[in-house]
């Protein structure tokens, strides 16, 4: 069974998803960080495929993308790094997140084949339009057992949330407040109202909240009305600030601190 599906069948609250950029801080850090996150107890991991023009991302993730590209990271290199991880004890569900152009240039079908071959469970492609997904990608993703995640924001109409929910089969990524990744989201009454309003829609997919989640307080507030939350920029900042030798311990500490 798809590991993502399996996860949500067994865990319906306080799910922690951690994002990091592939090939950052060093080119070959991808798998060690992935393993450290699994060992620390992350429920799922979202690996970012770096892109030159990440419009939905704030400064922290932009810089990690730029650094990863300077390190020589490519989609092809990422698949090489992920080769064999499922035989080396990595069991945590893995999502690939990235912008559409590098995937299109790699070749969508080849991308799906590679995802399946290395054991990727789902994808988040924020600039993939829903109609294009339905027309050109849906069957291909399904054929390679790749789950898809769509984003929802406080501005998304209820009708469109339902439409996105009908087509998503991984989870719904709730963007906490208008802004790019890493923006300081104050978990205020507005956000709470938005999350409980979304909960009331009774979506078929699990929901994870992202953007501005950085610590135990924001994780708890975000998880109150949802299946869990996503931490990205705060984790990238940790990777930036921690020397390689202390990284595993720091990641353990970080995940424990959120829970």
């Amino acid at each position: 069974m798809n590991r993502l599906t399996h996860l949500f069948q067994h865990k319906t609250a306080d799910v922690l998803n951690v994002y990091f950029t592939a090939g950052f801080p060093q080119l070959n850090d991808t798998v060690p960080i992935l393993k450290a996150l699994q060992d620390a107890g992350a429920d799922l991991v979202e690996i970012g495929m770096p892109y030159s023009d990440p419009v939905a991302d704030g400064e922290t993730i932009q810089r990690s993308n730029q650094q990863a590209l300077e390190n020589g990271m490519t989609v092809a290199t990422l698949f090489k790094q992920l080769q064999g991880i499922r035989k080396q004890g990595i069991t945590v569900p893995i999502l690939l997140m990235g912008y559409l152009n590098p995937v299109v240039q790699f070749g969508v079908e080849k991308f799906c084949q590679q995802c399946q071959a290395v054991g990727v469970d789902g994808v988040i492609l924020p600039d993939l339009p829903l109609d294009v997904y339905e027309r050109e990608y849906k069957a291909l993703f399904a054929q390679h057992d790749l789950k898809v995640v769509f984003l929802v924001t406080p501005q998304t109409s209820a009708a469109r949330v339902r439409q996105l929910d009908a087509l998503a089969d991984g989870f719904i990524y709730l963007v906490a407040a208008a802004g790019t990744t890493g923006a300081q989201t104050d978990m205020n009454a507005d956000v709470d109202a938005y999350l409980s309003r979304t909960k009331a829609l009774g979506l078929r997919n699990p929901t994870l909240v992202g953007f501005g989640i950085s610590d135990a307080a924001s994780f708890a507030a975000a998880s109150r009305h949802t299946t869990g939350a996503i931490i990205g920029s705060a984790f990238i900042r940790l990777l930036q600030a921690t020397p390689a030798e202390g990284r595993e311990a720091a990641i353990r500490e970080f995940v424990r601190g959120v829970r």
Partner: protein
């Protein structure tokens, strides 16, 4: 602003030009783009909008701009050359046709704040100008590197009351300023309108901007008819960075196959030198700034940094309609080097007493390449004036002494 019922070159009902176009935006931008998509045609077709738009183009911008028979240039090339004088628009370029149109749309959508990107600063100035005119707050993102090399325009924007924000991400030029403007829009989804400066971006921007710029070819038709007895030239020449002046100059001629549409791209130091912005020569299909188009990119799909002597052509993509015109062969794309553009800029200055913008000089540089015959008529869209480029021209004065 009449349009042909159906044309293979215009946007279709789903927002595409053949395989190009669409709206490849993250969900955070979807409501904004949807609001615009669902309202732009209704708004710009309202008689009151048309009245206000036309009046401002007339009384504020100074339209119609003249169609000038360039006799000495014509004699030099042995053909008949007309210059469509967009350089005489208020603010010195065609950019203001679009910003006037978009700010009227923004007002009707109830927006309180305008965000824009700019490269050379021409679109930034045109946006700051209309924001001052309408009393709306104006924020312009400009690459940190461009701020340094286009200081007079930065000062103009500030004088007009705009806030100029340096884009410090990526390569710190136009594409990054565009990213930053989009991020600003993502963070301010309800009260802000993004005035994009060219026929790029997600649908409906390319179509909306082309409609506002279509006044260029609409006027050309009647002026040419008046002056020559025929509304259609044999050639229409325009430069293409994103491609808004070309989109306007081509607009009413798209379905007139007798008019050869010539688009001048910036080859920089030469198409194969690694310092070029010749998108159709060097690029391939991909997705940039919300549209499927042709763009310069690495094998891995990372957008590459273009180079041109002209900051306005220094963009790694082209508008999706231009990608379609290129792919179908409806328009011919010529690569013009920095040197060819400088030659053409000095030539026009000396033969006709008009200093063109460096962008425009690329269009003029096509004149020796198109093989126009003595009895043929060529129109060049003279998209902007060269005052802003004086520092660059001055560096080369000795070569043209």
């Amino acid at each position: 602003m009449t349009i042909a019922a159906t044309s293979p070159y215009r946007v279709d009902a789903t927002g595409y030009y053949g395989p190009f176009g669409g709206a490849y935006v993250p969900e955070m931008l979807y409501p904004n783009v949807e609001e615009l998509r669902d309202n732009y045609l209704r708004i710009i077709q309202e008689p009151e909008f048309q009245r206000e738009f036309t009046q401002l183009l007339t009384d504020y911008v100074g339209r119609p701009t003249p169609l000038f028979l360039a006799r000495r240039l014509s004699a030099h090339y042995g053909t008949t050359i007309y210059l469509k004088r967009e350089d005489l628009c208020h603010t010195g370029a065609h950019k203001v046709n679009n910003t006037i149109g978009q700010i009227l749309v923004a007002k009707r959508l109830g927006k309180k704040r305008i965000v824009a990107e700019t490269g050379a600063g021409q679109h930034g100035v045109a946006t700051a100008t209309v924001c001052a005119l309408m009393g709306l707050e104006c924020i312009v993102y400009m690459g940190e590197i461009d701020i340094e090399r286009q200081k007079p325009n930065v000062d103009r924007m500030r004088m007009l009351g705009a806030k100029v924000v340096p884009a410090t991400s990526g390569s710190k030029t136009l594409k990054d300023a565009t990213n930053e403007a989009m991020r600003h829009w993502i963070s301010n989804p309800t009260d802000t309108h993004y005035i994009i400066g060219s026929v790029v971006g997600p649908h409906p921007y390319p179509d909306m901007v082309a409609r506002f710029q279509s006044v260029i070819s609409a006027e050309t038709i009647s002026q040419l008819l008046h002056q020559t007895g025929r509304g259609t030239p044999d050639f229409m020449l325009a430069c293409v960075g994103g491609g808004s002046n070309a989109a306007g100059a081509f607009y009413h001629y798209l379905d007139e196959p007798s008019v050869r549409l010539i688009a001048a791209e910036a080859a920089g130091q030469g198409v194969d030198t690694g310092h070029s912005a010749a998108t159709t020569a060097l690029g391939k299909p991909g997705i940039l700034h919300g549209a499927s188009t042709i763009l310069m990119q690495t094998e891995d799909g990372q957008v590459t940094e273009p180079y041109s002597i002209s900051a306005g052509l220094d963009y790694p993509g082209i508008g999706p309609q231009h990608a379609h015109l290129f792919a179908t062969g409806r328009a011919e794309f010529l690569s013009i080097t920095d040197k060819q553009a400088l030659d053409a800029g000095f030539q026009l200055s000396r033969l006709e007493g008009i200093i063109p913008a460096l962008e425009t000089a690329h269009a003029l540089a096509c004149l020796p390449l198109i093989g126009a015959k003595p009895d043929e008529v060529v129109v060049v869209c003279l998209s902007g004036r060269g005052d802003k480029d004086l520092a660059t021209y001055t560096k080369h004065l000795e070569e043209y002494a």
